[in-house]
Amino acid sequence: MEFDLSLEEAGFRDEVKAFLEAELTEEVRGGMFVDTPARVAFVDKLAAKGWLGMGFPEKYGGSKKPIALAQFILNVELELAHAPIVGKNVGVIANTIFHNGSEEMKDEFLPKVFKNECQWALSYTEPQAGTDLAALQCKCEDKGDHWLVNGTKRFITSAHFADYHWVAVRTDPDAQKHKGVSIIIMDADAEGLTYTPQWCVGSTGAERTNEVFYDNVKVPKNRLVGEINKGFIYLMQALDYERFAIISFAARVRRFNKVAEWVKEAEFGGKKLSDDPAIRSKFATLATRVEIGTMLEKMCICVAAERVPNTEAAMNKAWASTIGTEIANLALDAMGPYGYLWDGSEHAPLEGEMVDQYLMHGHSRVAAAGVDTSKTIIARRLLGLPDPLGKPFLPNQAK
């Protein structure tokens, strides 16, 4: 048992911290996406450090992992500093291609990912296929010398600045629903690909996602990832990783500390807000719950040194997304009516950030396996309970 970072781990963490101190400008800070020239330039510098391809072979543009936990330490520090995060490209795209893609695909895409030469949209969700992703219908037909894709996707974040779409498509309409899915890589400027914005609830700087239409989009044959009709397996593997790598708990810690700092300084009617016994008690309860999130993340990190955390990642995800809302909710409670003042009001505490958090954080409870789905994963995979929608189980049939 060893809860401290080792000398090498702490050294790497300090190196990342120093890098962020030097390179993370105000212009870059504050968004998780690589969606502006300044943010692209920032991630270019991460790439130049060799921090995007850690653990991947050099021939694909990868670099030696300085330590087993490097990826996770990097993610946590990026989140703590409110920098754009890199989990999606490296974690989902590069990992899936590396483990399942053809040699040609690895040669083409891995170096680009590790050099930050491309941004990606994960194009899974459809109007009729959300949590039940395997119900997706986006049609992908084999036309001999190309694939032909037709369908509608929604909530596709990054589609408006991405270079490639990573699309979950149906390649076998007759197979069982999990068994007819594949993943293809589509150029964002392909003919027949259009999108319209779906603005997230929030203030003027709010996040954006997109509805995407594929209308007879032709995709080269070699852009199908791995084996045909194995796509759902790849998606599930990548989601285990995403629940943990993209959604680091550190962002919640940062936000909670920011709110606590605000409470500490706030005065209303000459009275310090932090003297209020109800405020003290509620913040103490939440501080404890935030700490538990940190613990669950540490647990995941330790597991990750040996294997991809799956049920542990689901615990981390479920707790993190619940706590995120609790933080924003309590922040607004503490602010009273000032809590509903928005961006633009000089009286809005923390520039109205917590309003946006309150309104939007719930999406983390539904996306990338939300709270309900994460708990289902725990119930099914860890506790051995049967599928609620499957055939009835009798005693001794469950594990």
Partner: protein, 383 residues
């Protein structure tokens, strides 16, 4: 970073699990609960604890203990919590032992620690006063110097095992007034010292708690443990360790309750299927799972850091607050999963239901510890 148990820790856990599952069964606990007059723990079991080295686990080797740490005690206490083992382990092997190690004179150490390690002296911890608050500031029990003696007058509440214990570790006030942290002095005395009376307090856990009255109890100055008037400097550390071990115990109880409920959910059939196939039951069980993993991790994390000699007050407070919540929540939710049977005395889990809430209210409840968390965040209340 790495959370794995060492080989020795695994062995300790396995031995404890095997021993307690065999000896400390539900029937065994029920038997101890039955009669109010009895001491509430088993002397034979206590002797076995001594034999297995558990009572001296964290006592330094120079005093003939095993010299292990708080984290190892926590691993053991989780197993005790799983069996809701009624024993004065906390008050004796954690609180008294640590207080003596930190505050005892050489003579006290050589005499008293050996008795603890050998299982010859059982201690009860007389700290909590007749108030809903907890902590050094609440201590009112008066000890007055009188020649070579001290004379003690007043009372303590919620003292576990005080009647069956051989000795009492008594926290008194020798200076200052209630509301101050300083002025405290610890004493060690026999539990049947003249002038001490123990009145049983019926509790929902049916454990052995007493109101202890001190009427002109006269003890020699040699009964003092640690500095006169500055007892909190030592006791502070002791109480923090005790809180972590109590937390480990709570995590263990929560864990086993969850296992019972999970098992039941795979057996009980309604609507033609096991209830564990119903999504709402799955969600309850999954929520409890997350809390248990969180609780276990924070217990080990805090204990491990304390073993490195670090100030962890804030984490101790969070550990105690969270595990307290957890054990209450899981014992309550687990009982619900049992349906009507969850509320019939003969069902084993009613033992856990009766304990979950009581544990939450014990040792400072949530309030004392959450105050500490708040103070760390915001500083003391200024108004």
């Amino acid at each position: 970073m790495d959370m794995k148990y060492t080989e020795e820790q695994k062995q300790l856990q396995d031995l404890a699990r095997r021993y307690l599952e065999k000896e400390c069964t539900i029937d065994f606990v029920r038997n101890l609960e039955k009669k109010d007059e009895e001491i509430g723990f088993s002397k034979e079991m206590w002797a076995s604890f001594a034999e297995m080295g558990w009572l001296g686990l964290a006592i330094p080797e120079e005093h003939d203990g095993m010299g292990w740490g708080l984290v190892d005690q926590a691993i053991l206490a989780m197993q005790m919590g799983r069996s809701i083992c009624p024993s004065p382990y906390l008050s004796t092997a954690v609180i008294a032992a640590e207080a003596i190690v930190l505050g005892g004179t050489d003579d006290q150490k050589s005499e008293l620690l050996e008795e603890i390690i050998g299982g010859e002296a059982v201690y009860a911890f007389c700290f909590q006063e007749n108030t809903r608050e907890f902590g050094p500031k609440t201590v009112a029990l008066e000890a007055k110097a009188d020649g070579d003696n001290y004379v003690i007058n007043g009372s303590k509440m919620f003292v576990e095992f005080s009647k069956g214990a051989d000795k009492l570790l008594v926290v008194t006030r020798t200076a200052g007034k209630v509301g101050e942290e300083s002025g405290l002095t610890m004493f060690i005395m026999d539990s049947d010292t003249k002038g001490i009376t123990h009145t049983h307090l019926p509790t929902m856990a049916r454990d052995r708690q007493y109101e202890v009255k001190f009427e002109n109890v006269t003890v020699p100055k040699s009964a003092v443990l640690g500095p006169v008037g500055d007892g909190w400097t030592i006791l502070n550390k002791v109480v923090q360790k005790a809180a972590v071990i109590f937390s480990a115990y709570c995590a263990g109880t929560a864990e086993v309750m969850h296992e019972y409920a999970l098992e039941f959910s795979k057996e009980r059939v309604q609507f033609g299927r096991i209830i564990g196939q119903m999504q709402v039951i799955q969600q309850y069980l999954a929520t409890c799972t997350i809390e248990i993993y969180g609780a276990r991790t924070i217990v080990l994390y805090t204990a491990w850091h304390m073993d490195q000699g670090r100030d962890m007050l804030d984490y101790v407070a969070k550990t105690k607050a969270f595990t307290s919540h957890c054990v209450e929540h899981i014992c309550d939710r687990g009982s619900q999963i049992f349906g009507g049977m969850g509320y019939i005395e003969e069902t084993p889990t009613t033992l856990h239901l009766r304990r979950g809430k009581q544990y939450q209210l014990s040792m400072g409840g949530m309030a004392y510890w959450e105050d500490i968390v708040a103070e760390k965040m915001f500083g003391p209340v200024t108004a």
